[in-house]
C-alpha cells in the first residue's frame, strides 16, 4: 500500500508544484482549491473521518488550470475579455498537514503560479485589460505561502463543529510584471468556523470566515489587492460506492479591494460553483477532480472564469 502511494505521489509531484492566484486576479480566497483556507480540507470528502485519528500526516497536491472569461465592474456589468485576448493560469499547491491528535491539524501550503497573457492583462480591481504587447507573455512565480490550523471543538455521532485559522506570508510576486503576479504583497490572516452534519451517507459542510491583510501591501503604486473579505463555503458530498464520492461546493466571497499606497476601498464579490468527484484508492489515498465556474451573476469588481482542478491526497503515518 505504501509503495503504491509513494509511486503515485512521485508521479503527481513531478512537473507541478503550483497553486494560488495573482493578487490582482482575484482575492486570496476562492482562487485555488476552494476557499483557500483550512476549510478546504472539507473538499477531500469524508471530513468526519479526516480528523478521526492523530499522529499522522496528509500530503495534498493540487493542480489547476484556470481560464478567464471576462469581468464585472463595480455596477455588476459584465464584460468579456478584450477582443482576441486570453488569460490563463496553471497553478498548483503542495499541501502538508500534520494531525497531532484527533480533531486537530496543522498545515502549510506551498503554491506556485504560471500564467499566460495574450492580448490581455490584469487591470485594477479584477478587471482584464487589452495590452500593447504583441506576443503572449508567460511568467512563473511562487505564490504566498499559507500556514494554517484547524481544531474540532465539539463532535457528535453525526456532526462536528470546528474552527480554522491561517497566516499568509508575502512570498508571492507583486511587482509590475503582470504575467508573474502571484501574491498579495503583504501578510494576511484568515479565520473562520466550520460545521458538518451527516445525514445518512451524505455529508454537508458549511465554512464561514474572514480574511484581512495585515498592513499595507508592497507593490506597484495603484495596484489593487484583496482587502478585508467575508468568505463562505457550502459543501455537500455523497458516496456512490465505497470508493467513489460526488460533491458540490458553493464558494463565495464578499469584501473589498484595496490599493497599494492609498486608503481607498472598493467592493468586491464573487460566487463559484464547483461540482466534483472523488475516487479513493484505498483508506489512505485518493484523487478529486472538480470544475469550478464563476458565472457573471451578482458580481462586483471580479473576473469570471472556469477552473479545472486535479487534487490528490495521501495519508502517511
Amino acid at each position: 500500500m505504501m509503495g503504491r502511494g509513494l509511486a503515485f505521489w512521485a508521479l503527481l509531484m513531478v512537473g507541478f508544484w503550483f497553486d494560488a492566484m495573482p493578487a490582482e486576479a482575484c482575492l486570496g480566497c476562492s482562487c485555488g482549491g476552494g476557499s483557500g483556507t483550512t476549510g478546504d480540507l472539507s473538499a477531500t470528502g469524508g471530513l468526519a473521518g479526516l480528523f478521526a485519528e492523530g499522529q499522522r500526516w496528509m500530503i495534498q497536491e493540487s493542480l489547476s488550470f484556470r481560464s478567464l472569461s471576462g469581468y464585472a465592474n463595480e455596477r455588476g456589468e459584465w464584460f468579456p475579455l478584450p477582443v482576441d485576448g486570453q488569460v490563463q493560469a496553471l497553478a498548483g499547491t503542495l499541501g502538508l498537514y500534520f494531525f497531532p491528535r484527533p480533531g486537530t491539524s496543522l498545515g502549510i501550503q506551498l503554491p506556485t503560479v504560471g500564467q499566460r497573457l495574450s492580448k490581455a492583462t490584469w487591470g485594477s480591481f479584477g478587471a482584464l485589460m487589452p495590452t500593447a504587447e504583441p506576443a503572449a507573455q508567460m511568467g512563473l512565480a511562487p505564490g504566498d505561502v499559507l500556514l494554517q490550523g484547524t481544531h474540532v471543538w465539539h463532535q457528535g455521532s453525526n456532526w462536528l463543529f470546528g474552527s480554522w485559522a491561517g497566516l499568509g506570508l508575502p512570498t508571492g510576486y507583486s511587482g509590475d510584471d503582470a504575467s508573474r503576479l502571484s501574491g498579495l504583497g503583504t501578510f494576511s490572516v484568515q479565520t473562520g468556523v466550520l460545521a458538518l452534519v451527516r445525514w445518512g451517507e451524505a455529508e454537508f459542510v458549511t465554512s464561514v470566515g474572514g480574511q484581512s491583510p495585515i498592513g499595507g501591501a508592497v507593490g506597484v503604486p495603484g495596484a489593487s489587492y484583496a482587502g478585508e473579505s467575508l468568505m463562505y463555503q457550502v459543501f455537500g458530498n455523497y458516496p456512490l460506492s465505497d470508493r467513489f464520492r460526488v460533491g458540490l461546493t458553493l464558494a463565495g466571497q464578499t469584501g473589498v479591494w484595496r490599493q497599494v499606497a492609498q486608503d481607498g476601498r472598493l467592493p468586491s464579490s464573487r460566487l463559484s460553483i464547483i461540482p466534483g468527484v472523488q475516487w479513493a484508492f484505498g483508506d489512505h489515498q485518493g484523487v478529486r477532480v472538480a470544475l469550478a465556474t464563476t458565472p457573471p451573476l451578482g458580481l462586483s469588481n471580479t473576473p469570471t472564469d472556469w477552473t479545472l482542478y486535479l487534487l490528490g491526497y495521501q495519508f502517511v503515518r
Partner: protein, 399 residues
C-alpha cells in the same frame, strides 16, 4: 442556501447600482462599409517613432528608440535632418504652437521641455525643466499657456511663455494625485479656458483644477481614470469628461453646476478621446472592444458605437485642410471639420470617421505598431512605432 446567496448577491448588485449617479446606456452599434485605401508613402525614420507634430512646414517625429527627432519636409516628404537629444535624453510628446514658429518636445528621460525653432535650423532654443516623467504637453488656445503632465510626481506644471518665446517661461505647478502602473506610466491632461483635467489613476480620482483661483475638485465616478477631455459650447468649456478604463464608463462633470452623469454601454476600455466642438460630440476609442463610442456631451447621452480596426488607441479631430498651412490640433475640433482619425495599433491601419454621420468613411493601410498622427494641408502623417516609418496620406482622395 443557494437562493439566499442569490438574493444576497442581487442585493449587493442593486446597492452598487444605486451608488451610481444618473446612468444612461445604449447598445446602438453603427455598421459601416468604408473605403479601403493605402497610404501614399512610407518615410523611414529612426527607431520607435512616437510623438509627432507639424510646425513651419516640417513634421517633427520623436524617434524614442534613437534619441532623436526626425524632421520631415512636407514639400518633399523626406527626412531632411535630425535633432539629436542630449546624452541620456529620450524624446516624447511633441506639440506645435499655433503661430507655427516653435515646437515643444518633451525629453521624458531628462525631465525637460525643449523649445525648437524650425526657422533656425531646428535648433533647441530653450530647455525648460519640468519634473520627473513628463508625459503629455498641451498648448492652450492663447498660444502662451502650456501644461505638462508628470508621471513621476504628483503635480502638473503650468508654463507661460511670452509672445515670441525669447524668454524663459514663468513656471507654476498644481498638486494632483499619483499615477498607477509600472514601467509604462501615462497621464493624460486636458486644458480649456481656466480649467485643467488631470487623472490620478493610483488614487482612482481625477483633479479638476480651476487655474483662475487655484481651486481643485476631485472627481470620482468609475475605476481607473484614463482619457480626459473638456467639452465646449460657444468656445467655453462646459463639461469635463473622464473615461474609466476598468469600469468601461465615461463620467461627465458639469462645470457650471457640479452635477455628474455616468454613461455606460460604450464598449470596453476607453483609452483616448477626440472632441468635435461644433457637433458637441466626444469620440472615445474603446481599445478592448475595437470600437469608438460617440457621446453627445451636451445632452449627456451615448449616441452610438462605431466598429473600427484592431486595438484602437489614439484619436484625433482632424483640422480643416486647405493649401495654406495648418497644424495638428489633437483633441480639439475646428469649425466645419467633421473627421475623426483613429489609429488601430494591431492591424496597421487608421480609421477615418465622419463624425457627423458617425460612420467610418475610410480605412487606410499604414505601417505596423502604435500610431500617432499630425496633419498639414491636405496631408496626414501617421507614425508607425513597430515599422520605424511615418505614413503619408493624401486626404484629398478620401470619400
Amino acid at each position: 442556501m443557494f437562493s439566499r446567496l442569490g438574493y444576497f448577491t442581487a442585493l449587493m448588485l442593486s446597492a452598487s447600482m444605486l451608488q451610481a449617479c444618473q446612468t444612461i446606456a445604449t447598445s446602438a452599434t453603427l455598421v459601416t462599409q468604408p473605403s479601403n485605401l493605402v497610404a501614399d508613402k512610407q518615410v523611414s525614420v529612426g527607431a520607435k517613432p512616437h510623438g509627432i507634430a507639424t510646425v513651419g512646414g516640417y513634421v517633427y517625429n520623436a524617434d524614442t528608440g534613437a534619441a532623436q527627432i526626425s524632421v520631415i519636409d512636407v514639400r518633399s516628404d523626406e527626412v531632411v535632418t535630425r535633432v539629436a537629444m542630449k546624452p541620456g535624453g529620450t524624446p516624447g510628446y511633441i506639440q506645435a504652437f499655433r503661430d507655427g514658429r516653435h515646437a515643444l518636445a518633451l525629453d521624458t528621460a531628462r525631465g525637460v521641455l525643449l523649445v525648437i525653432d524650425p526657422l533656425v535650423e531646428h535648433q533647441v532654443v530653450q530647455e525648460v525643466p519640468v519634473g520627473k516623467g513628463p508625459d503629455k504637453v498641451v498648448i492652450a488656445s492663447n498660444d502662451r499657456d502650456v501644461y505638462v503632465s508628470l508621471t513621476g510626481e504628483s503635480q502638473v506644471v503650468a508654463l507661460q511663455f511670452d509672445a515670441d518665446r525669447s524668454q524663459a517661461p514663468t513656471r507654476k505647478s498644481y498638486s494632483v494625485g499619483a499615477v498607477a502602473g509600472g514601467a509604462h506610466k501615462h497621464r493624460a491632461i486636458a486644458a480649456g479656458g481656466s480649467w485643467l483635467v488631470v487623472p490620478n489613476s493610483a488614487d482612482n480620482h481625477t483633479s479638476l483644477i480651476n487655474t483662475n483661483d487655484g481651486s481643485i475638485r476631485l472627481l470620482k465616478d468609475g475605476n481607473d481614470p484614463g482619457p480626459v477631455a473638456l467639452g465646449q459650447q460657444l468656445g467655453r468649456p462646459t463639461v469635463a469628461m473622464v473615461g474609466y478604463k476598468t469600469s468601461n464608463t465615461v463620467g461627465l462633470f458639469d462645470l457650471a453646476d457640479g452635477s455628474q452623469t455616468s454613461l455606460s454601454g460604450l464598449g470596453q476600455t476607453p483609452s483616448d478621446v477626440a472632441v468635435d466642438t461644433e457637433l458637441k460630440r466626444a469620440f472615445f476609442s474603446m481599445t478592448g472592444s475595437n470600437e469608438v463610442a460617440v457621446i453627445d456631451y451636451e445632452a449627456k447621452t451615448v449616441l452610438g458605437r462605431i466598429p473600427v480596426g484592431k486595438r484602437p488607441v489614439h484619436t484625433y479631430m482632424a483640422p480643416e485642410w486647405s493649401d495654406q498651412a495648418v497644424r495638428s490640433l489633437q483633441h480639439v475640433g475646428m469649425r466645419g471639420v467633421h473627421e475623426v482619425w483613429v489609429g488601430n495599433d494591431d492591424d496597421g491601419t487608421v480609421s477615418v470617421i465622419d463624425s457627423e454621420a458617425m460612420r467610418v468613411k475610410a480605412t487606410i493601410q499604414t505601417g505596423a505598431g502604435h500610431h500617432k498622427m499630425t496633419f498639414w494641408g491636405h496631408k496626414a502623417y501617421v507614425s508607425n512605432m513597430t515599422d520605424n516609418t511615418v505614413s503619408v496620406i493624401d486626404r484629398a482622395v478620401l470619400p
